[in-house]
Symmetry: C2
Subunit: 204 residues, 2 copies
Amino acid sequence: MVAKPKLRYFDARGTGEPIRYVLEYANIEYEDERISMEDFVNIKPTLPFGSLPVLEINGKVINQSTAICRYFAKRAGLAGGDDFEALQIDAVADSIVDLRIAFTNYCWRTPEAQKPSSYETLKKENIPVYLSQFEKILKENNGHFVNGKLSYADLLFAGTVEYFNNIIKFDITEGFPLVKALVEKVHNIPRIKAWIARRPQTFL
Amino acid sequence: MVAKPKLRYFDARGTGEPIRYVLEYANIEYEDERISMEDFVNIKPTLPFGSLPVLEINGKVINQSTAICRYFAKRAGLAGGDDFEALQIDAVADSIVDLRIAFTNYCWRTPEAQKPSSYETLKKENIPVYLSQFEKILKENNGHFVNGKLSYADLLFAGTVEYFNNIIKFDITEGFPLVKALVEKVHNIPRIKAWIARRPQTFL
């Protein structure tokens, strides 16, 4: 018997949630361990690179949210039908992550005094640049990020949009109808919808 | 006849060089277009997400350095023999990218007044945390990042180490003998060695 994979993350959506979306979509049994900030301080020295999420699987501890998403996405047919499709999916996924890094830098790494100007940069530069590009890609690909088909890039975006909106305090998909529609489409997939209905309610 | 893929990047190593390492290793013919800062300003609005590198291939323009590395790595057998090996390679690759982001933030996004303290953080926190973790992984994997076999994660690290060292002004592999040996091993692969000998000499 193969042990269930264990996802270890904070009691939060954050960078763990896209992995949970893929696992739920793929109907893979897993342990969704949620670690308090108190316990995190204790286990941090034992974690690769000192951060979460990690996946415990096959006796190994693996870090990196996007890599973990891609791994389970392959099992679910969400990582591309060939190498060129996989390339396009991976490129969109890493672009979503780039936007997430801009939000994370603003939220956790920007000194208070610079926050107002950083907020403006996010609002007036990063968000319009990324969202208009996402909108364009969705237009060229029939409402999905790649080749008109559901992929883990779609789930990654939908699983991250609450994080974006919580930080910036408005809905970043406003004015980008195809992006908005993609999020709704993903959130209406029965297994994802069921997950959202039953998942722990968390602040972030 | 399939057109040669074209890599468009600055006349620099930066985030383009790991792709060139993989292309050279795989012996794939490609056009290595190098764009001046002047021309970059002109083409920026036409680039996806306004940044370089991009790959022009099969009539599409694809961004994201790591995704492009992985794509060519698959052709060269450097992206894992199965999904679990691919996961481990991808996780190390994204951890190298995380360290690169810390360097890039320091170099390009930190206000001058904060640079001295950011330099100390890089030197005393990021570098020891990442390098000691890389050293540990190499020890557990017989001198490579995954399963004792060459992978694109190895090429990504070796292709980025000059970027790290140029910014921080010392050799970050000092004190990490397995990391140092990995870089030498990659740089002694005949095709990589030949590339380094004939590549354009650039400042960055």
